[in-house]
Symmetry: C2
Subunit: 342 residues, 2 copies
């Protein structure tokens, strides 16, 4: 049962403003919730009770069955690979090589990935691939690590491989069960969309998403095996942050610099989820307009308000969360800042 009281949230979204010279050029509205593991809202902005597709931000929870099923141990899945299983990666060689090797170890190949292919999201990696006369495969898809984790679990549990992306496949049913456990919600009637990589994405209100990440942050109240799995994923992400994203990405910067004090994951369309193990709280962020730049700046501002960020973390993440805008001649032309009071 949810412990959160059912009072309607009345606070407003906050603003992330993009300035250029003397004036604000563009404005984003951001909805966010901070919750403890019992579902008590520490703070919220805007309507946090309507469903939001959490997209790739929920990947750390989607990776739990990989460990809980015994698949990770059976196949000797490394911490690097666990971080990769939670990744929206940039398609750099380290990601592609790790996916390829892991698939090989479970007796499958790139052709078994059902995520589709796209050029690496890190432009220099895309250009290097083109310069080598190559084209991207499904291993370059930013979700290929997650899909390989799915396949690893399916192989271990002797599920049918083909169709593992479908809502009714055991892989996706297990994930739905994890999400129901972590949110205390019955998700049978929750809105379901199709994600970029073709798996289902389930609409979950930000208040419960924040609680879910609080439980991930502070799994003491969970079954001991699940708690151990959560800690193992947190450690993997913090130790190998380059695997969860890649070059020039906030997820890599923050998970690396925070050394386990923040475990954060971006999702498409302006979503960020973060777990704060020391405080035992979770943060769920959605930029209403779906822009990543707003979600990143919002995450930095909320962590700042919570007093989480020391100088080292700031140095690593400020280029993303307090960006200075430079133009093609490297002139400073503006900045992006959140104001949590607006």
């Amino acid at each position: 049962m949810n412990n959160q009281s059912s009072q309607k949230s009345t606070s407003l979204p906050f603003t992330v403003a993009v300035t250029r010279g003397p004036m604000v050029e563009s404005r984003h509205q951001v909805v966010a919730a901070i919750s403890d593991s019992a579902g008590k809202l520490v703070k919220s902005w805007g309507n946090v009770e309507s469903p939001v597709y959490l997209r790739s931000a929920i990947k750390p929870l989607q990776a739990l069955p990989l460990i809980e099923s015994g698949a990770a141990d059976a196949f000797g899945v490394s911490e690097k690979e666990l971080s990769l299983a939670c990744a929206s990666h940039t398609g750099e060689p380290l990601h592609v090589e790790a996916v390829t090797a892991w698939l090989d170890r479970i007796g499958l190949g790139i052709g078994d990935l059902e995520c589709g292919s796209h050029w690496p999201t890190y432009d220099p990696a895309a250009r290097a691939l083109a310069a080598a006369g190559e084209v991207p495969t499904a291993a370059h898809n930013n979700c290929s690590g997650k899909h390989t984790g799915f396949l690893c679990t399916a192989v271990h549990l002797k599920d049918q491989i083909k169709g593992y992306i479908n809502l009714e496949h055991p892989v996706q049913r297990r994930i739905k069960k994890v999400l129901e456990d972590f949110t205390d919600l019955d998700l049978s009637d929750a809105p379901v969309g199709i994600d970029g990589c073709s798996i289902p994405t389930i609409g979950i209100p930000l208040n419960w998403a924040a609680m879910a990440f609080a439980r991930f942050a502070d799994p003491a109240g969970l079954d001991p095996d699940r708690a151990a799995a959560c800690n193992r994923l947190q450690n993997a992400i913090s130790k190998y942050p380059e695997m969860i994203a890649g070059s020039d990405r906030l997820c890599t910067a923050i998970n690396g610099a925070a050394k386990g004090r923040v475990v954060a994951k971006v999702g498409a369309e302006g979503v960020y989820l973060a777990a704060l193990p020391e405080q035992g709280i979770g943060i769920a962020i959605k930029a209403i307009d779906g822009t990543t730049r707003a979600a990143e700046v919002a995450l930095g501002a909320i962590l700042d308000e919570l007093g989480i960020l020391d100088e080292d973390i700031h140095r690593a993440i400020d280029p993303f969360v307090r960006p200075v805008l430079r133009n093609r001649n490297d002139l400073t032309v503006g900045e992006i800042r959140a104001d949590l009071t607006t």
Copy 2:
């Protein structure tokens, strides 16, 4: 003097909604004005009286001095080049070659461009460049055509070349004068930012921006030489739409398909300006959050409401203005639609 009455606009922005499966995933708010050449608002949404950086959307007006100074005739500037002078192009070979040839004809080179360089915005062009072992020059900058037009004017008028991007340089002072003529505003105290290509971008309210584009659309009330220059630019853009943008771009699709009935130009941070010569009206659009997808869908919806779009134009522009969202496996996952009544 502005003929527009000074009553405050009270209408609200309208919404552009991004759906995924059964629910709206993200929402954009859009401010817009439709005006005639006398400044009478046909319709508006939201606050259209606060300054907005029009960014690259104002390029057609920035290109007027190139013609009015006599530079275009003195240097035999072609219609293709005039379209390029109004462009935010994709950095494809046709753009880069045209810029290089034009610079050569005026006795200058790529090193004289002060716009900075960046990889082509059309990804396949960027990858082709990388595959050829090359790196981009200032000619690949999406604004290189505009800058070449500036240089052409400067050479013809014997201005100093170096520093032509600065607010006090004659090139920029001429542009400011054009904008003051078209908006009936004194822009001395207007907010000025630095654009991506380092030239000044001046804050102008959308109501006057729409009037300015109405005057560009229907220049009958202007000085005959200026009217001729406006018509010449309109014809150039409509005849060579590939020069004003490039592959997979709405500006190219709409300026080509509309055959002169719509002359439209995108600007960064969610701006679109459009001139409707047959109706003698102008449209100015700003997505508050700065997203291009919202501005594009908004432009389509407004043109639809005005009854401008026939079947041919729809076919060309619907992929941009009524987009169906497909994922990495080409599955339909959602759509983007404007609702002008919200």
